[in-house]
């Protein structure tokens, strides 16, 4: 079998694996599959979280499985494994990719703007220095899983009606879907343009490729300068001249294509036939790093991470806000697995820095009392994996009490028993704690016609309320509920307490 066919089979396998893992990241299908495997293999995620937290969290150690062969072979990950790269390549193939050979050669030549990814990586590294983890915005695996969760699966859900019994919606599906569409359609004009010009993981692997021992070697005596090797070159690595090590995906198209056998994969070939370092400007990279550092510093200061913000309700087990932002890679695995759809990607709730990080939206869902799935799938520990006993504060955790995500407050002007002399208390009915955090007092009042009426009027016991939001979700005042949860009282940060405990 031709090596390029082997490669396509390998890429198809990893695309299939990614789709499978995204599909089973759901209540009822999890069965212990390593659903965050790709994110744990991602060297950029491991390195960036190591930069912000000084630790390599649990399964992120698997990144070594990509880094170690990357040191030997360069960017083989981009050519053989990355499912997001494979998708782009597939789109480029669908679009014909330039049917004439001369046109294909033109599209696959290196361009100066392909250095952009190194500056983006530098900017993200600068942001990481002040504890802001922004790699997820462009990391290909985060982007892929985010796009699956926020854009692709909700459409499949409503079209088929067979993903969730009650179909899920995502609040920024349009934005993530449009970005996915844009990135993929770029490949129609220039194959794998995202990989070449934007991908920070590609940039990181490009830096590592400097150490690679095996690489493509061109025999100048056999070469007739026909440039056919460039026609299918996926990384735009210039194999017909001096091979750019940092851009070569080891896709083997050039070796396959060369009619004179001038190209081959060799162990330690002569270094004068190649460009060893990425073609990026050091001073520009330093400037980009400074820009990232300043921007992250400014957004962090303007967001007041140490003050609770009412709509910034994080999932149970989420770390205190600044520690959370040091770890969240916006991969949306928690959003994907959340059975009630309450977890939504933030747009403005968490400030500019927290774009697409998970927040609870009680009008969409509620936090299920006995569920801790979000923390179980989180690859970076932004949401700690809790046991149910830990979440509920039972058994050995009775001393520290339950994990609270916020506190519910009545809006008495909108509440039926409070404002409209009408019985209701659905909120009390669904309140899941025992004893219920919502309790009622039987109160007599006089209605408009002067008749005495007895009503059960609801109150919140802040000592019992865990902020799960099912009261808000089930409130019949549907557009803006008469009871709403805000973040005050959340247990994740000491500055957010409500009661003197």
């Amino acid at each position: 079998m031709r090596i390029t066919v082997t490669r396509i089979i390998c890429q198809s396998f990893f695309v299939g694996l990614a789709v499978f893992l995204a599909a089973v990241t759901q209540f009822g299908y999890l069965r212990g599959y390593p659903v965050s495997l790709f994110l744990q293999l991602d060297p950029l995620v491991a390195l960036a979280t190591a930069a912000t937290t000084h630790r390599v969290y649990r399964g992120l150690i698997w990144a070594l499985a990509i880094i170690a062969p990357g040191l030997l072979l360069g960017r083989f990950f981009c050519g053989w494994i990355c499912p997001f790269g494979a998708l782009q390549q597939f789109v480029a193939w669908l679009g014909g990719g330039g049917r004439r050979t001369a046109e294909r050669i033109r599209r696959n030549l290196p361009r100066p703007q392909f250095a952009t990814k190194y500056y983006l990586l530098a900017g993200m590294a600068g942001a990481a220095l002040v504890g802001s983890l922004q790699v997820g915005l462009l990391d290909p695996l985060c982007t892929l899983f985010r796009s699956f969760t926020l854009a692709v699966l909700p459409l499949a859900d409503s079209a088929s009606g067979h993903l969730h019994v009650r179909p899920h919606v995502q609040q920024s599906a349009w934005l993530v879907g449009a970005l996915l569409f844009f990135v993929l359609s770029l490949s129609l004009a220039f194959p794998r343009h995202f990989c070449r010009a934007w991908c920070p993981l590609g940039a990181l692997l490009g830096l590592l490729a400097r150490f690679s021992l095996w690489r493509i070697h061109r025999d100048p005596d056999a070469c007739v300068h026909c440039d056919l090797c460039v026609a299918n070159c996926q990384g735009a690595a210039d194999p017909h001249a001096r091979l750019r090590k940092a851009e070569c995906f080891l896709c083997m198209e050039c070796v396959q294509r060369c009619p004179h056998g001038a190209l081959s994969l060799r162990f330690l070939p002569e270094p004068d036939g190649e460009v060893t370092y990425p073609q990026a400007d050091g001073r520009r990279a330093a400037l980009a790093a400074l820009a990232g550092l300043l921007l992250a510093g400014w957004t962090r200061r303007s967001a007041h991470v140490d003050d609770p913000r009412p709509a910034l309700i994080r999932p149970p087990g989420a770390l205190a806000e600044s520690a959370f932002l040091e770890r969240c890679i916006k991969c949306e695995q928690c959003v994907r697995v959340c059975p009630t759809n309450v977890l939504q990607p933030a747009l403005s709730e968490a400030g500019l820095e927290g774009l697409w990080t998970p927040v609870l939206k009680m009008r969409v869902g509620y936090c299920e009392l006995n569920c801790t799935l979000c923390g179980q799938v989180c690859p970076t520990g932004a949401i700690a994996p809790l046991s149910v006993a830990q979440k509920l504060g039972t058994g050995p955790y009775a001393e520290q009490g339950p994990v609270r995500t916020g506190t519910a407050f009545y809006d008495r002007g909108r509440c039926l028993p409070w404002a409209m002399d009408t019985p209701c208390v659905v909120c009390e009915e669904v309140c899941p704690t025992s004893p219920k955090a919502i309790y009622t007092r039987r109160e007599q009042t006089v209605n408009r016609r002067g008749e005495p009426v007895w009503l059960q009027r609801p109150y919140v016991d802040p000592d019992r309320c865990i902020g799960c939001g099912i009261c808000q979700h089930e409130c019949p005042v549907k557009d803006r509920a008469a009871i709403r949860v805000t973040a005050i009282g959340e247990t994740r940060s000491p500055g957010s307490g409500l009661l003197l405990r």
């Binding site: 209540f27 009650r166 009392l369 006995n370 208390v425 899941p432 219920k436 089930e474």
Partner: protein, 325 residues
């Protein structure tokens, strides 16, 4: 220009013009009736009675005591004249447990799987062609069906779980005082020949107790949480909406406080009782007493009795009481 081409071009343009015009005229909404605000009342489902023929006379109410749900179900059915009185060979039987909350049955908020399985086994033995288990829970359905154990029951007895997907609901005529028409879980109701309710015996924060009548709330769709504004009328309407073949009230565990969700084993007490009957108002009156409440003071039972939907003075009916094994 030759004649052939002239006629061809003219014909194509003319056909396009005619086709578009014909389609527009055919779909023309001259009076704008398709754009009226409000809900369309067309396509209402009518639910028939699920009572088995000949069960209006004879034994009506059975109270079995014991600890083993399977034996208690058998004893109760024995007192009522056997399952064959209610389920005929070839029937499609809908079993309606309460699985409203995503929590284990031990907490008393949902129907015990052992009781559900026992009833399902008797239906199978009577020759039921298909068993359906349906519920539209409060919490997310996947979790409720798994955690309460009813998914395992369905697998064990070969019943089909009917999931409350959006397209499984249709607006039905109910004709009640509050529920005039309402979206109901029509997919299982329309397929079933017989309907059997199996409800837990629970305290309820708003309507005092949640028993067999309230259990039909799980066959409603739509904005059902508005019903709490007229809860007693609405529950009586539920008794009008579904005329079941048989109901079971599982009082082996009683959720005595913090209902209807419970949440702690301390909220659950042993009841050692299972009530079965054809008159769910009477069965609920027994359940009311099990929970130490007076059925004579429970508004929805009184309303249902006044409306002739059953008799809360259960001792007036033909009832029996036995110890199971």
């Amino acid at each position: 220009m030759d004649r052939r081409r002239f006629l061809g071009e003219l014909g194509r343009t003319g056909a396009a013009l005619l086709g578009i015009s014909a389609a527009a005229v055919a779909r023309h909404d001259r009076h704008g009736t398709s754009a009226r605000p409000g809900q369309p009342e067309a396509g209402l489902v009518h639910l028939h009675s699920f009572r088995a023929p000949g069960t209006d006379s004879g034994p009506q109410l059975a109270i079995a005591h014991g600890a083993d749900p399977a034996r208690m179900v058998a004893t109760a059915l024995g007192m009522l004249g056997g399952i064959e009185r209610f389920v005929r060979p070839g029937d499609v039987v809908l079993l309606k447990p309460n699985a409203a909350f995503d929590r284990p049955a031990a907490l008393g908020a949902t129907t015990r799987p052992e009781t559900l399985l026992a009833v399902a086994t008797h239906c199978r033995r009577a020759g039921a062609a298909q068993l359906l288990i349906a519920e539209n829970p409060i919490n997310h359905p996947e979790g409720c069906f798994a955690r309460t154990g009813i998914q395992a029951v369905a697998a064990a007895c070969g019943a089909r779980l009917v999931w409350p997907r959006p397209n499984a609901f249709t607006r039905a005529h109910i004709g009640g005082e509050v529920l005039s028409t309402w979206p109901v879980f029509s997919e299982p109701l329309q397929r079933a020949d017989k309907v059997i309710g199996i409800a837990p015996c629970k305290d309820h924060n708003l309507c005092s107790v949640s028993l067999c009548m309230k259990n039909w709330y799980g066959l409603l769709g739509g904005r059902r949480n508005q019903l709490h504004q007229q809860i007693h009328r609405a529950i009586a309407d539920l008794a009008q909406m579904i005329q079941p073949t048989l109901v079971f009230l599982d009082g082996t565990r009683l959720l005595v406080r913090n209902g209807p969700t419970g949440g702690s084993l301390a909220d659950v007490a042993a009841g050692d009782t299972l009530v079965a009957g054809t008159d769910m108002v009477a069965v609920d009156a027994v359940g009311c007493e099990l929970l130490g409440r007076d059925p004579g003071r429970l508004e929805y039972l009184q309303r249902a009795t006044t409306r002739g939907l059953g008799n809360a003075r259960w001792r007036e009916s033909s009832w029996r009481e036995e110890w199971a094994g």
